[in-house]
Amino acid sequence: MSLNFLSRNFKKFIFLSSVFFGVLASAQDQKTVSGNVTADGIPLAGASVVVKDTKIGTTTDFDGIFTLSVPVSAKTLVVSYLGYATQEVAITSGEMSIVLIEDQNTLDEVVINVGYGSQKKSVNTGAISKVTAKDLEGTPNNGRIEQALQGKTTGVFIASNAGQPGSSSTIRVRGVTSFNGYGGNNVLWVVDGIAISDDIGFLNQSDIESIEVLKDAASLAIYGARSASGVILVTTKKGKQGNIKVGYTGSYGYSSPAKTLNMLNAREYATIMNEKAIAAGQSPVFSDVSIFGEGTDWQDAIFNKNATRYNHEINISGGNEISNFYLSFGTQDQQGIVMSDISNYNKKSIRLNSNHKLFNKLTIGQSLGYSHQKSVGLGNTNSEFGGPLSSAINLDPITPLVETDPVEIYGPLYTNDYVIRDENGNPYGISPIVGQEMTNPLAYAQTRKGQASWGDDIVGNVFLEYAPIEGLKIKSTLGTKLAYWGYEGFTPIFYLNSSTGNLVNNITRSENKIFAWNLENTITYSKQFGSHDFTILLGQGAYEDDNPTGLSITHSGIPTNNYQDASFNFDIPASSKTGWAYTTEPHRVSSLFSRLNYNYDEKYLFTGIIRRDGSSNFGTNNKYGVFPSFSLGWVLSKETFWKDNNYVNQVKIRGGYGVTGNDRIGRFSYLSTIGGGRNYTMGIDELITSGSSPNAPANPDLKWEETRQTNIGFESRLFNDFNINFDWFNKKTVGILQPVSIPGYVGSTGLPSANVADMTNKGIEIELGYKKRFNEVNFSVSGNVSTLKNEVTYLGNDIDFITTNTAGFQSMGAVTRTEVGQSYNYFYGFETDGIFQNMDEVNAYTNSLGGLIQPGAQPGDFRWKDTDGNGTISDDDKTYLGSPIPKYTFGLTLNADYKGFDVMVLAQGVAGNKIFQGLRRLDILNSNYQDIALTRWTGEGTSNDFPRLTNTDSNGNFGKMSDFYLQKGDYLRLKVIQLGYSIPKSLSDKIGAEKVRFSLTGENVFTFTKYTGYDPEIGGDISGIDRGYYPQARTFLFGANFQF
C-alpha cells in the first residue's frame, strides 16, 4: 500500500517538475521527443521518462505513449517503471520504441502480500514464497490452482489426490504439522482476504494476480490459531489504469494415460494360477493352458487415449483515477482418462473485481467470484475394493470384454435378468474365477451413468477504506463464501457378478450448503521520519465457517430402469421414499491482532506480531490462545562498509521465531455428550429401537495445537544475475490432539481427546534463480530444493507408539505406525532377508537354542528377519521400513525467448520416500498379477526377491506387511514443456491486438521413476498408499492468447 502511495507521489512529482522545468526550459532551444514504452508487447502506462542528469521528464499515458520537449543538447533518456530494469536510451528522431524488461533481480522492488497489507520484499523478514500471474501463465490450467503451484516454491509438498479431473490435491507446508483427523494439516487459504477453510476449486487460474505462501511462524502468526499448517494468500486481478483491455486465453488438447501396467496375459495367467493351486495341493484351475493366448486387456478397455480437454477464458479490465474493474469469464471441460463417460469435469466461472474512490479519502472495493462445477467420478478410486482401475488390474485376462459365445450367453453366468449388455445385446463378460467387487468395468460404467455431483460457489468481499490523514488507513472488510453442492444420481437394478448387484433401483438427490463469513477491521499507520520507517497494524476479526447443512432424498423402486427416464416425479408409495438431513454447528473464531514493522534505513529490519484467537473448538478452560512472533533482518549490502562489487550485489540475513496454532481439533471434544445410534432391533417386526449412551469422557482443558517455529535465512544476489534464497527451519508442534487410548475396560464408545503428542519438522530450503539477456535471447532458470525431516518426539508418558490414524491394507491390518523417534505414520512391517532356496537353508535358519526360526517355511518362502532376536518370527519383529514423507522436494523452471518464440520447461519431483504398492487384491486368490510375477521363485536360484506362488501362502509371503510391498517413491517429472510464438507487433497491430500468441504444451510429458505402479504422485492424509490410484494424465494442448 505504502509503495503505491509513494509511487503515486513520485509520479506527481515528476509531473510537476516537468511542468516547472518545462517552463524554465522554454527559453532555450527545444526539440520534441516522442515514442512509446512497452513490456512484453503491452504498453506501460505511467512509466517515467526523464532526460539523463536533468529533472526534465514525463510519464507515459494510458497507451504507453510519451511526448517530451527536451533541450537540443539532450542525448539520453532514462526510462523506468516499477519492477522493470531501468534503461538508458539514446534519443533518436522519430517515434522511439522502448521495450522494458522485467527485472526479477531487483529484490527491493518486489512487493509481497504479508496478510492484512503488503511489504517490499527487501524489507520483509519472513519466509514467504511468491508466485505471480506471469509464473502461472505458462502453467496449463487444469482447473485446480494447487497443481499450478506444484514445483514452483520451496517448502511445499503438493500431490494430487487423484487423476480424476477437478480433484483437489494434498498440500503440506513444511511437512505434517498435526496428526490430522480433522483436516489439521490443511493449509488455510485466504483469497482476497477471505479465509477459506475448505475447498478452493472455485478459483480460476487466470484470474490470479499473485499467490504468497507463508511458511515461517514469524509470518504466519498474523493468522494465529488457524495458521500452523501454513497459509496461502491468493490475490485476484484488479483493473489497471488505462484503456479497456480485452484478453482471451484458451487451449484445446487431448489427454492419455502416461503409463499402463504390464499384466499377465491369458496364457501366463493360466499357467501361474495352475501353479499356485497345485502348490497348495489343489486341483489345477485350468485343464488346458495351451488354448489361451493374449486374452483380454482390461486396461485397454478402461483408458481413453484421446480424452479431450479445453479451456476458454475472457477477461475485460480497465480503469481510471476513480474506478477500475476486472471482469472475467471462464469455462473448462475435461474428460478423465479412465472411462471418460463416468469421469469428467466441467467448470464455469465469472469474476468481477472493482475498486472505486468514493470521495477523496474513501475507497470502496469488492471482489466477487462465482463458479459452477460439475463432476462425474468413477465412484471408487484408490481403493482395492472395486471400481474400474482396481478391476482392470485384478480381473483375469481370460474373461472376455463382451461374451459372444452362445453357449456361454445362455449359460448359468448370464441368467440374471439384470446382466448388463452392450448395444448388440451381448452380455459384458462376467469373470467366473475372479469374483467379489472385481467387475467388468464396461458393465460397471453402465450402472453409473447419470450420476453427477455439482457445486456452486459464490465467494466475495466488500471493503471500505478510509485514509483520513497521510499514512493512516482504516479498513473494514466483509467477506463471504456461500457454497452449495450436491449429488444427483440414479442407480439402476443391475447384476455385475454374483457378489455385486443391486436389487432395487433408486434415485437420489442431495444438497448441501455452507455459509461462511468473516468480518475484519484494521487500522494501519505508516510513518517515516528520518531513516526510521514503521508501520503499525491493529485489527479485529470475527469468523464463522465450516457450518454445512444438508439433506438427501432417495426414491427407491421407480418404474424405469434407465437413467435418462429416471425422475423424482414418478408416483411411488411414501414408504419407498427415504431422506435425511443434518446440521453442523458453526466453527467460530474471534480475533484481535497487531503487527509492527520497523526498519532503519531499510537496513535493520524488525517485525513483531501478536494475535489472540478465541475458537469455538477450544475447551471451556482454554477459550483463548495468544500467538506471538518476531523476526529480524539485516541488509548487509546496505552497510557503508559493503563496497559495491560485481560478486555479491545484495545480501539480507533474516531470522525469526513464532508461535502459531491449529484449532481444527474437532467439535465438542471437550464435552461429555450422549451419543445415539447404539440401536437394537426389537420384536418380530424388526423394529429398530434407538439406544443412547455417553460418548467419550469430557476434557474441558482441550486447546489448540501449538506450533513453535524458528526460521533463519538469507536472500542474496550474486554476479548481478544470480539469486540465492536460503532458509533453515525448525518447527515443533506441541500438544497435538490425540485420542487418548484409555483402557478398553472403561467401556467408552469413543476415546477422549487430549493435547498430547509432539512432533518436529526440520529442513532447509534453497531457491536459485538466474536471469540473463544474451543479445536477443532472454533466458531465465529457477530451481528450488527443500529438505524435510519429520520426527515424532512425544506421544504421552511411557507411550512408544500409537495405533490411531494408521493406514490399513486389506487383511494386513495397519501398515503404518506412529512412533516416538520416527516419522509420522512410517511404514511398519517385516523385513525380508531373501528367499529360502532349499530346505537346507530353512533348516539352517535357527535360533540360539538350535530351534528353527521359521519352522513351517518352504523353499521359495521369504526369510523374515528376526529383528528382536528372540528366535521366533512374531509381530514383535515388525520394524521401520521407510517413510511415505519425501525427504526432498524440488522443482526447476526454465524460460527462454527469442524474438517471438518462447519456451518453458517445468520439472518437479520428490525423493527419499517410499510407496506402498498395493494394487493386487490379496483375498481373491485368482487376481491377476503384474508381469513381475513371471520372475517368481520356481526353484533353487531362480529368484531371491519374488517368492513362490501358492494359494495357501502359509508363510505370509504376500499376506504379511513387509518391505516386499514398498518401493522407492523418487520421481522427476517433466511436468510442462511449452513452446510459444507471438506474432510480430507490426502484424498484431493490424488487427488491433496488443499481443497474439500461440502455444503448444505438453503436460506430464515424462516421469523418471522406478515405481512400478501407474504414478508415483500419490496424495492423501498418509501419502504414498497406492491401491489403484487414478493416474495423472499426459496431455498435449494447443493454446492461444490474445490481448486487445
Binding site: Q282, G411, P412, I433, V434, G435, Q436, Y466, P468, I474, N497, S498, S499, N502, N521, A542, T554, S556, T583, E585, P586, R588, V589, L592, S616, K623, S672, T673, I674, G677, R678, N679, Y680, T681, M682, G683, I684, E686, T689, G691, S692, S693, P694, P697, I742, P743, G744, Y745, V746, G747, D798, I799, S811, S874, D875, D923, I924, L925, D953, F958
Partner: protein, 500 residues
Amino acid sequence: MRNFKLYSILTLLSIAFIASCSKDFIEVAPEGKPLEALYYQNEDEAFSALIAVYDVTRKNSGGFENMITMMNAGSDDHFAGGGGATDGVGIQSFSNYTESPTTIPASFWNDHYQGIFRANILLQKLPAVDMSDALKSRFAAEAKALRALYYFNLVRMFKNVPLILEPLTPTNMYEVLQASPADVYTQIENDLTEAINDLPASLLSSEIGRLNKGAAQALLGKVYLYDGKNTQAAAILAEVNGTPGSPNQYGNYLLTNYNDLWVVNNKFNAESIWEVAHASTGSSHWGVWGSGSDEGNSVNVMVGPRGYVKIGSTAPSLPDGWSFCVITQDLYNVLNGDPRFGATILDLKALKIAGEADYIAGYQDTGYFLNKFLPRSSDVSTGTGDAVLNYRQNTYIIRLADTYLLEAEALGGNGTRAQALLDAVRSRVGLSSIPVSMAAIKAERRKELAGEGHRFFDLVRWGDAASVLSSRGFVSGKHEIFPIPYLELENTQIVQNPNY
C-alpha cells in the same frame, strides 16, 4: 463531507465493537447431542439407555469380529477359511492357535466392556430417573442380566478380567486390577439371581426381544455349569426345561422340525430362549459395520461361498459370501447320515462335481459350507444399505435343546432325567434313544449345536480341548483362553495371561 467522515468512522468502530465484544460469539452449543449431565431424566431416556445395553448382544453375530464365526474357527468343526491365510488375522490366528496379544481382536474385550459400561451407568442413574419403581426394577434386572452375559463371555474368553460395576473416572481408571475368575462368576451369578426376581415371566407381544425370567435362568444354569456348580445348574435348568419333550412354564418347546430353526422368518420361535435380533431395514453400510448402528447379521455373508453360480435346479439360490468357517471333513463325517446333516452342511463340493453349481474355492476350502447361516438369495436386503451387511437372520444365544443338554450334563450324564433330556433332543430329529452318558451328551451337543459357536467352549469346559485340538496347534495351559489385547496393558495394571 465532514459528516460523512464522522459517520463512516462511527460505522467502522461500531462494527468492530459489536464483533469483538460478544464473548458469546464463540460459545457454540452442540445440537441434538444432549450433555451427559442433563440426560437420564425420564422413562424414555432410561429406555434408550437400556437399548444401548442390549445393543452389544449383536456381538454374537454382527460385525466381522463376531462370537459365532470366531469361536467356530477355533473348534475342530471349522477352519477359519476366508480369502487367504491373512484374511482376518484375528480369526485366522485363533484357528491355527498362533494368536498373540497383537492379533487377538481387541473388540472381543472392548465391546463387552462397552456393554458393561452402559449397564453400569444405567444402574447408577436409574434411582434418580422419574419413572415407576416397578419399571425401574425391570430395567435394572435387564441391565444386570445383560451385564452377566457380557462378563460370562469375557471370563470364558479371557478368564482374568477386571470386574467393574460402576463407571470409572479418569482418576481411577488406571488403578483397576484383574479380579479372580471366581469373583467374576460370583458376580455373574448374583446379577442373574437378582435379575430372575425382577424379570417378567412372559412378555407382551410389543416386548418380544427383551429378556424374560426364563432367559436369565437358562444363562444362570449355564454359568453354574461352567463354575462347577452342577447341582445348582441342574436345579435352575430344570426350571427352564420342565418336562422333557413338553412345553416349559414359559411356553418353550423343541420345534418339531429341526430345519425350522434356520428359517429366517421363524424369529423368536418356541425353542428360542435368548436370541440376538437382526434387521435388514437398518441400512448398515461399511462405514458403520460392526458399530452400534449396524443392525445386520454378518455371519451370513461371512460363511457364504465365493463366486457362487447356480447351474442346475437342485442347487440352492445363494448370493455370494466370503467362505469363512468352512466345515472340516471331521464334522462332515460325524454328521454324515445324521438327520441334521442337511440343515447344518451344504455339500457344495458334491454339487460342483455334479455340475449343479460352481463356486470359487476360498482359503482352506473343503467344499462344505455352514448351511445354518448361509445367506439366501430370497433374503438379500433390498434396503438402502449395503446388501451384504444387512442380513436379517437372528441367532440364538440359548435355545431349549441347548439347555436340555446342559441339564443332562449337569446331572452327570446319568439318571432317568438325563436320559429323558437326551432322548427328547434325539427324538425331535427322529433318532432313537441311546443310553445316556457324558460321551453321548458330548456327541449329541456337537451335532445338535454344530456351527453355533459353542464347540470350543464345550471342549474347554470338558477338558477335551487339548486332545481334540492338538493337531491345530492347541497348547494345553495356554490356548484355553485368549491373550489379553496388547493395548490393554499400556499404562494399566493388567497382567497378561500365562504363556502369551
